[in-house]
Symmetry: C2
Subunit: 338 residues, 2 copies
């Protein structure tokens, strides 16, 4: 058959019926696996090839109320896709789990308010059976629409005030543990470049840092930057060095932030780890790209995506997912930077 | 209204009709903007709120044969999402253009053969009106299904043998230009770490390098690596240094590859640019993270995504997109690495 020209009307069951010389009902029976005579079946199969008919799943969706698709919703794609290597791992982990269950993952990015409204309509519109949501905020329109529809969802990270299944790591505990290790190495003027304090991950990492230092916590050694980004880490480190030239260690809230700090330290003539020790968070590819490579916390990105997808699949198969959180292990990876 | 429990059956027009005490036909008329009495309209609007009814767009899709959604298809997400910073820019550029036209972009990732088959079914199934396709290959099942359906589509990059609209840059010309600039700086033993030779971008960059050197081209100074990745650049540079210790410049097929080369050169005690000049390709965030920052080719990632989306939108609005290619400018960005 000749491919139809772009944008041509799709062939319908009506076209098939006409070409085969049978009723539309007979075509439907064949498409749905029902009984028809061998003669009619052959005529219909020939007609399907002739007119280039492809069954319309949107129609099936209507009947079954299932799309066999699950949304993967990413907020703030500019910072996440371009700076945070975790997002790719989370996405691939979710895709693998959904694919194994024969679900199509459809990734929807929310970059502007216009996107928010449109994605909310898309979710309302019956195009997906459920969703994995990354980096949600409380009172987000997406969160609201998901609640209103009762859509099966799971969050990566724990947006405050939400009592639906979520998957994450113990950011506070991991930050406390890595700070304590830095302290036990004999460093005394330990700073932090805190990032993304409007997200639970960012504020929990700062809280862990503060807990580990206890009475020795000195807020003049904390520099706060907006994003988990290399450039933010570089700028934050420059400001810290100006304010506290005697700093001897720094905890970057992500590996990208810590890599930026390493760059700023080198530019200022400080040796890592001899003069200043540096640790990060994520164990992303960044951690192995700095010289020396970074001591960091291993954030299991693919595991988070897979676990969130599994929590949605449980709900889709009629089970009840735990409305609390699942915490995955995030061990310290010790390298040469401190 | 109380949110329905997760996974609960969606409310239907039938539920609305029952709660309002009217026929389903009357409800449909209200939903489709037809005439009904003011009394019935109010009763139906109250009932819609009561039962939590949300119009099912899958049903509308069936009637209009339009989903107002466009697919964004990414092959090889492992290497692309985790190593290639361009993919995020292309995705965001496409999302912005589609969003402005009120289309929902749905990103579909193809990681395994199982994904390929399922995405092909999804495209066949009427869930999207068109698609932007990144990193396609010839005789790819996705390309085949797109051809068979006559789906409005545009490619980023130019898969050989495909005569549908595509958007790209002149990889060959840009690689030739940057190699010529390196040569004009007085370097004589110029090597290349070529990557992804199974893609048109990879093979075109090598062809441009070869053209610029002409009779001086020396194939022992070319090292080929599988991916546009940092680790591949590092390994490739180590092998080049073993084979040609007198090398005085290297062209990395991407900034990530070039950044890996810088790392390997530093580990080998070579200074950049004093001993060995290094140039990359992409002008991604990588280019500003090396020390010194990389001279490179500015690949307009967001522009590519936006232009591909525009080419799909033209087809969706009934226009005919040029079946040839659109080439965007990719100028050289001169920095300190050579």
């Amino acid at each position: 058959m000749t491919p139809p020209p772009p944008g041509r009307r799709r062939s319908t069951v009506h076209d098939v019926a006409k070409a085969a010389g049978v009723s539309r009902g007979t075509v439907s029976r064949v498409l749905n696996g029902g009984y028809v005579s061998e003669h009619a079946r052959e005529a219909i199969q020939t007609a399907i090839r002739e007119v280039g008919y492809v069954p319309n799943n949107a129609a099936r969706t209507l009947v079954r109320q299932r799309t066999q698709a699950v949304g993967f919703i990413v907020h703030e794609p500019h910072s996440l896709f371009l700076e945070d290597p975790n997002i790719g791992g989370i996405l691939l982990g979710a895709n693998t789990a959904l694919s194994q269950a024969d679900y199509q993952m459809v990734c929807l990015v929310i970059d502007t308010d216009r996107d928010t409204d449109r994605v909310a309509r898309y979710l309302s519109g019956g195009f997906v059976d459920g969703a994995v949501i990354v980096s949600a905020r409380q009172h987000d329109p997406i969160t609201d629409v998901v609640e209103r529809l009762g859509l099966p969802v799971a969050y990566v990270g724990h947006p405050p005030g939400i009592s639906r299944p979520w998957v994450g790591i113990d950011n506070l505990g991991a930050a406390r543990a890595i700070t304590a290790r830095v302290r036990s190495s004999g460093r005394r003027r330990i700073g932090m470049i805190a990032a993304a304090l409007d997200r639970d991950s960012g504020s929990d990492r700062l809280a862990g840092f503060r807990e580990a230092l206890g009475d020795d916590f000195d807020e003049t050694l904390v520099e706060s930057v907006p994003l988990y980004a290399f450039a933010d880490g570089e700028a934050g480190m420059r400001r810290l060095l100006e304010r506290a030239p005697d700093i001897d260690a720094v905890f970057g809230a992500s590996d990208a932030v810590a890599a930026g700090a390493v760059q700023a330290l080198r530019a200022a003539g400080r040796r890592v780890p001899d003069d200043v020790g540096v640790v990060g968070f994520d164990d992303s590819a960044w951690a192995r790209r700095t010289d020396p490579p970074l001591t960091t916390v291993d954030q299991p990105a693919e595991g988070l995506g897979a676990a969130a997808a599994e929590a949605v699949l449980v709900q889709l198969s009629g089970g009840v997912a735990d409305a609390g959180g699942i915490l995955l292990d995030a061990p310290i990876v010790w390298r040469a930077s401190v």
